[in-house]
Symmetry: C2
Amino acid sequence: MTNLQKEDFSKWYIQTIQQADLMDYSPVRGCIIFKPDSYEIWEHIQEEFNRRFKKEGIRNAYFPMLIPESFFTKEADHIEGFAPELPWVTEAAGEILEERLALRPTSETMIGTAFSDWINSYRDLPYEINQWANVFRWEKKTLPFLRTSEFLWQEGHTAHETESEARRRTLRMLTIYKEVVEELLAVPVYEGQKTPSERFAGAVDTFSIESMMKDGKAVQAGTSHYMGTKFAQAFDIKFLNRDNEHVFAHTTSWGVSTRLIGALIMTHGDEQGLVLPPRVAPTQVVLIPVGPWKKNPEIVERLAAIQKELLAKDVRVKLDDTDNSPGYKFNEWELKGVPLRIEFGPRDMENNQVMTKLRDQSEKVAVKLDDLEDYIFTQLDLMQGRLLESAKEMNRANEYTNIDTLEELKAHIEAKKEEGEVPGWVLAGWDGTEESEAKIKEETGFTTRNIPYAPPVLKSKCIVTGEKAKHTVWLARAY
Amino acid sequence: MTNLQKEDFSKWYIQTIQQADLMDYSPVRGCIIFKPDSYEIWEHIQEEFNRRFKKEGIRNAYFPMLIPESFFTKEADHIEGFAPELPWVTEAAGEILEERLALRPTSETMIGTAFSDWINSYRDLPYEINQWANVFRWEKKTLPFLRTSEFLWQEGHTAHETESEARRRTLRMLTIYKEVVEELLAVPVYEGQKTPSERFAGAVDTFSIESMMKDGKAVQAGTSHYMGTKFAQAFDIKFLNRDNEHVFAHTTSWGVSTRLIGALIMTHGDEQGLVLPPRVAPTQVVLIPVGPWKKNPEIVERLAAIQKELLAKDVRVKLDDTDNSPGYKFNEWELKGVPLRIEFGPRDMENNQVMTKLRDQSEKVAVKLDDLEDYIFTQLDLMQGRLLESAKEMNRANEYTNIDTLEELKAHIEAKKEEGEVPGWVLAGWDGTEESEAKIKEETGFTTRNIPYAPPVLKSKCIVTGEKAKHTVWLARAY
């Protein structure tokens, strides 16, 4: 056991995701290969969101990836926000294109243009769709899963008759994000509103769920935007309302991406490697023959029978009967974060039992073969809940709510550094000005994460100016 | 009822897919928007293939979309085949790239590079993965679903120890394609081997399933390629074999795309619009209140109750209680190809029954409410099988096996044209030369579709030269 996670979190992260066979680098700058285990985590995330979206009456669709340059220039804030990161197709089939085509960074412009054609009357509203797609943002600094030039995501886009209905949709999606990220990934989140400087390019209001990693840094895990009628005006999304007037629709958009995989790893991983919540683990249970098992073929036969029974009940279970030593196998499957290991050898067979070990527990437990199936279902459920609870505890231990000035914040960061501890998140008063926000970032590297719906404490004074605080905000370093 | 399908099949196709709300054009040349109904058909196709791939032990992964130019030049035939259709990213984030990046037309080069790193020993083999992705081919002539600049597909890539194992995988995937296309889409296919001139760029052997559309033209519905060690040599995919020698792996690739949606429509659609096989129909059953239903709220309540029960049994069912007239609704849902319509009005309520109409049958049938659920499941199953059978009949009626010379073929095409009938497919002898193949195409517009595994007749003489035939091939016009 090393102390790498504690000593050099970044190195631990890169080493873990590579050793656990989740990803590989690509020769193209900032692009990664999602190997089968990370892609399967993404598929479980997709399944759960698809189930929830369907319940909401939101349907999937697919829009072209290439977006003409002229589309972007229609909404001024939008182009300003995305232009610096766009890759461009300028040639195709041996010819220079008349107009450059951007690789989509997000699809508001493409879908806005379509909505303009499709929406004519209040009877067409709400119009609510979602897209699963690859998107591109050519960023300077990249990090596997968390910030890559190409990533996978879902982007929902809706149009509504009224502001209140659009705002309800915006907030409803944030709630769904919170539920799925907490229940499926066991990653606790902080819901709140983004400050104006951190809004999505072109949005009226942006809401986010933010999560705290084990190194105390924040990951923006999902965002939901209320666009007002800004995009409707830019793309001419007008409809005949109930009073027979042509008016602009109110639109929203919302997304989560493959960065959730990064957040999952940085929330639960430990010095031994990944720790995967059972609901998204590609392998939930691994069966390993132990002792002098090769002399008795019945050992592997019994394990194969257990595997078959579990597969029939939709448990994702592997049998590792390779030639490697049990110790090697234990390490490898721990590194991969498999929730439950089951060992079975000649002595266990005599006793009609198996030895079990949960990834987040240190003791092994003997379980009678007759009780095994119940034990597995119960323990996987318990572990799912336990991971969420221990992440919440980790979060609480790293929340600081009694820091009132920039000097105190700087001293806090310094002190934690000296102790070899993470600086965590700091709840602060903010006067609502961009100047104060910029000063916090400049002097501490902390940025406003969001304005929480329900802050644990209401801060009355701005951490920068000492003036009356307009909002209470979470401050943290962020990925 | 019009005769548009018979008189102008292309116009019928474009009009039908637009009116049925399956797609819309995009401002970018040759790109289309997959609206929710067509995207859902694709999702059902994906589900079924994922289920089958998983059974085969093939896992999903995701590789970067952008491919450096230098990758393509490694396999000479491959670059020659794809270069004319590639779109290129030349700038990103305000800078000109040092090396152009292609938008993937297929991922052999990217995945070959990865396999080279990942595969070291025979113990790593077989390495079998699949990717669901968007791909780009900038073609001159495009047609929604069947040939678009951007399309969606799956591409499987495998590496093996031996030729025989790789060839078994190649043919096994073709069998899976045949089964899924016939059982799920009810589109009968013709299995066979492509001629050398129609092979995938860089393959040793290409196999295809081809299907016949109602206008007698062919759609290549899926392909599977055995690459030999050509890509392994180009990308250095070497492994230590059981004799402790470094040798090249044998690779395969195989794919189906969203053109299956086009094939589905052109196989089953009729003058009234789409006809969708129940297993892939986004809406399988539509409930429509009829008669003076608005005066009696119980009508819609009862329909809502039926809907709820069916939804609970995973039937995809809609209730249309809009203000449109029943006649309007009947037409609209027929146009959309919904397999089963259920009408229910005050008189039906008195008789404790509903009136039902299957999309491919002309009579309405009264069904007692108590029997409805059974009726629905039985009839949807029967319809699924009936569609496959009637497509097979259509195929057989348009197969010609008694044409022996090019003159006869030209006369056949001319005669069919005069009769206003489709020229169909022609089974012909071929001497195996490129010259003969080119001549057929030049003089008749027919191309070799494939060399069937089991031709209905073996042709002994080449249709062009009259010499001894090397193969019996299917000839047809193709999309």
